[in-house]
């Protein structure tokens, strides 16, 4: 059914890995944005609470967790990328490489994004502007 005229064993090897690959190639797509969204959304919502609490450790913990998610996503994407190294560029399964590469870059971007958003908490007082 393949449109390409690739050697059959190529397809066979790939098919065996398909299950694992499918998961790991998408890891960065799911985990990195989720980490960023969690960090931003929860961090934003917890500011008044942090101010009332007078400590920032929940926020630090949240950051560590989010960064961990990003690193996990990056590692899984990298694994998928390595495993797909032998795919020839003209094969349609090149898309596994693309997915994995994008997943890896997503993880990097989310990692950077989380750190940039984390930075202000060191520069300012949590309670500024928390009037209510």
């Amino acid at each position: 059914m393949q449109a390409e005229s690739d050697p059959q064993q190529d397809d066979l090897i790939l098919a065996k890995q398909e299950g694992r690959e499918a998961l790991s190639a998408w890891a960065g797509w799911v985990m990195a944005p989720a980490a960023w969204a969690l960090h931003q959304g929860i961090g934003y919502a917890m500011v008044p609470w942090l101010c009332a609490l007078g400590t920032r450790w929940p926020y630090h913990a949240l950051t560590v967790f989010a960064v961990g998610l990003c690193i996990g996503g990056a590692l899984m994407s990298r694994k998928a990328l390595r495993r797909s190294r032998h795919i020839r560029p003209e094969h349609s399964r090149m898309r596994v490489r693309m997915m994995a590469l994008i997943g890896l870059m997503f993880s990097a971007a989310a990692f950077g994004g989380i750190l940039v958003e984390y930075l202000p908490s060191f520069l300012i007082d949590t309670c500024n502007g928390v009037d209510r």
Binding site: E90, R95, N128
Partner: protein, 637 residues
């Protein structure tokens, strides 16, 4: 059906002609006035979407000119304040909901099946339903203006201003019901596009071989899917506050005016990118074709598009910097808002590197894209500026922001849209647009646009707030406003020329070839205008630029064995596009129209009485059942 057309040239014999004639009969839309209401082919629906959106664009543009006329001098009395506020609200709402989104969706509906080598979209009848919903909703919404009952609370309808107490009358009710209704159309189109892109791609078109435009449409559709619900929830709450006295936004009864802002901007910010993302796809298509080389950084562009989509959901608070939120909370969104500059930068430099040293043909679409670059980058830079909390606290809700978003939206979406019109018009109509008129149109629009909107930056810094119907002579804003008005008129002439060009060239334009620009994507692999069935034989692809690689390979691969006596198209796997099954598509039917009318009765009635909720709900439901009820004889394999 005497001309077999190039699509079947390999079998330009009696049998080939006969086969094509049968397929074309199968895919033909009924003629005549009543036939019009039964059309379901995506080319028909897409054309209607774009044409309707352009008409709404013209109307909203005239409203913009009216505002510019009023503001051209201090204490002008062209429009009284109430009329001005209605005009302002309708201008913003119409440009966003009635023009920008539907125009992009219309282009997507027209092009995506062609680009992915499908014969139609996955749910042709739903497609038609979406169009009627949009048409009915848009017309009713715009009619409120000549009737003098248009909403006047601004396009973002902040509560409590839009509550019954401060906005009595029907205006805001019309806004909430009709906008929700139109969003239904946007949602149906989004679902439709996602499924079509996921499942109906030509065999061989794995995810990494999809044209960038298709990726952009996919991202746009997902954004619609997740952004629209929040404005639907918000406007439903506002509708209920006004209609049945719920207290969602009433501070005295535990409600919160800020809830509206959060919900609205959680939609409103992605909304801007919903308009802008498909435009990026258009730009890529044009750049590739006129540079005559494959795009540099395919993966990077896909990455950029998807991350624009994702990041856009994390910026909504930057519309609320002045609402007194805790400073640390706001500071998170500062970095996030500036972050959008990374994917934008990556895209711009990928295009620059694609163009670098290429032998570029400076045809009209390419000129629109070049003006897009200049204008959009300026808007993007002011966008990074307003991401900064302290700066935004000065320029928020001033003409600086008006200038910024017109640079981003007109520069980033309308100019590419124009490029798209010039680029794909030959495919859709079969004739080329006039080159001379096109060049004049680009030039006038570019000059007019900058003249109209650049001075607004200065006006904003000089303290001119948004949404004012007049200003005092002592404020010294007169000259720059006059300049802006002159620019707006030039801009209108520029766009007007393109409108005239669209009409004129349909009759007088030179006849277009199958692939007049030598473009690489599949929509150019069929006749201009496309066959009823799009492709006599669905293509099979090996890379992301089949029209350039087929000649190199010396053969063109197609799908064989689809039936000619009913509407069939290939279904392929989601990731690798391996053939999976064949979908049988429905033919012409009036039920989508009937359903849309039933639903619109419900929505329109809601303005007057909550009971119409039930009437509309059950009315639509009954028609849906009729719509889906299997007809005898049941399909056999």
């Amino acid at each position: 059906m005497t001309d077999v057309g190039p699509a079947l040239r390999h079998r330009d014999d009696a049998e080939g002609r006969e086969t094509l004639a049968t397929i074309e009969r199968t895919w033909q839309s009924p003629k005549g006035f009543f036939g019009w209401f039964t059309h379901v082919n995506h080319t028909n629906i897409g054309r209607r979407f774009v044409a309707t959106a352009l008409i709404f664009f013209a109307i909203a543009g005239v409203l913009g000119l009216l505002m510019r006329w009023q503001l051209s001098a201090p204490l002008n009395e062209v429009l009284d304040p109430d009329t001005y506020n209605q005009v302002m609200t309708v201008h913003g709402t119409a440009m966003m909901f009635l023009f920008a989104i539907p125009a992009m969706e219309g282009i997507a509906i027209y092009l995506v099946p062609l680009m992915i080598g499908a014969r139609d979209m996955a749910f042709p009848r739903l497609n038609a339903f979406g169009y009627y919903v949009y048409l009915i909703g848009g017309v009713i919404f715009l009619l409120s203006l000549p009737l003098g009952i248009a909403p006047a609370a601004g396009w973002f309808n902040y509560v409590p201003l839009s509550n019954k107490e401060f906005s009595p009358g029907l205006g805001v009710d019309i806004w909430t019901t009709m906008i929700t209704f139109i969003e239904v159309a946007a949602l149906t189109a989004a679902v439709e596009l996602i499924v079509t892109i996921f499942k109906l791609r030509a065999p061989g078109m794995s995810l990494n071989r999809m044209p960038i435009f298709v990726w952009a449409v996919l991202v746009m559709s997902f954004m619609i899917l997740f952004a629209m619900p929040s404005v639907i929830v918000a406007s439903a709450m506002l509708m209920m506050d006004r209609l049945v006295d719920t207290q969602f936004f009433v501070a005295e009864a535990g409600g919160s005016p800020l809830l509206w802002q959060h919900l609205f901007w959680f939609f409103g910010h992605p909304e801007v990118y919903i308009i802008f993302v498909p435009a990026l796809g258009i730009v890529t298509s044009v750049v590739v074709t006129f540079a005559q080389r494959p795009v540099f950084g395919y993966t990077a562009l896909v990455l950029a598009l998807v991350s624009v989509g994702m990041v856009s959901f994390g910026l909504w608070v930057h519309h609320m910097y002045t609402t007194g939120l805790p400073f640390m909370g706001r500071s998170f969104f500062m970095a996030a808002s500036a972050m959008i500059s990374i994917p934008s930068g990556v895209q711009i430099f990928c295009w620059i590197m694609t163009l670098w040293g290429a032998r570029i043909r400076f045809e009209v679409p390419m000129l629109w894209v070049l003006s897009f670059f200049a204008v959009f980058i300026t808007g993007g830079l002011t966008g990074v500026m307003v991401a900064s909390v302290p700066f935004d606290r000065q320029v928020h809700d001033t003409y600086f922001v008006v200038a910024h978003f017109h640079y981003v939206l007109v520069g980033g979406a309308v100019f590419p849209l124009m490029a798209g019109l010039y680029y794909w018009y030959p495919k859709a109509v079969g004739r080329m647009l006039s080159d001379r008129m096109g060049k004049w149109s680009v030039g006038l629009s570019f000059v007019g646009f900058n003249l109209a909107f650049f001075p607004m930056h200065q006006l904003g810094l000089e303290g001119m707030p948004r949404r004012i119907y007049t200003y005092l002579p002592e404020m010294d804003w007169g000259f720059l406003n006059q300049l802006a008005t002159v620019g707006a008129i030039i801009l209108a002439v520029g766009f007007g020329l393109t409108f005239w060009n669209l009409i004129y060239s349909a009759y007088r334009g030179t006849v277009a070839d199958e692939n007049p620009w030598n473009a690489p994507t599949l929509e150019w692999a069929t006749t201009s205008p496309p066959l009823n069935c799009n492709f006599a034989q669905q293509p099979v692809v090996q890379d992301d630029r089949p029209l350039w690689s087929w000649p190199e390979r010396g053969k063109r691969t197609v799908v064989g064995g689809l039936r000619t006596d009913r509407r069939e198209t290939m279904v392929t796997t989601l990731l690798d596009a391996r053939p999976q099954s064949v979908q049988v598509l429905p033919g012409p039917t009036p039920w989508p129209f009937v359903s849309a009318v039933a639903a619109s009765v419900g929505f329109l009635g809601l303005i007057f009485s909550p009971w119409f909720y039930l009437i509309g709900f059950f009315g639509a439901f009954v028609t849906f059942v009729f719509w889906f009820w299997p007809r005898k004889p049941y399909r056999e394999d």
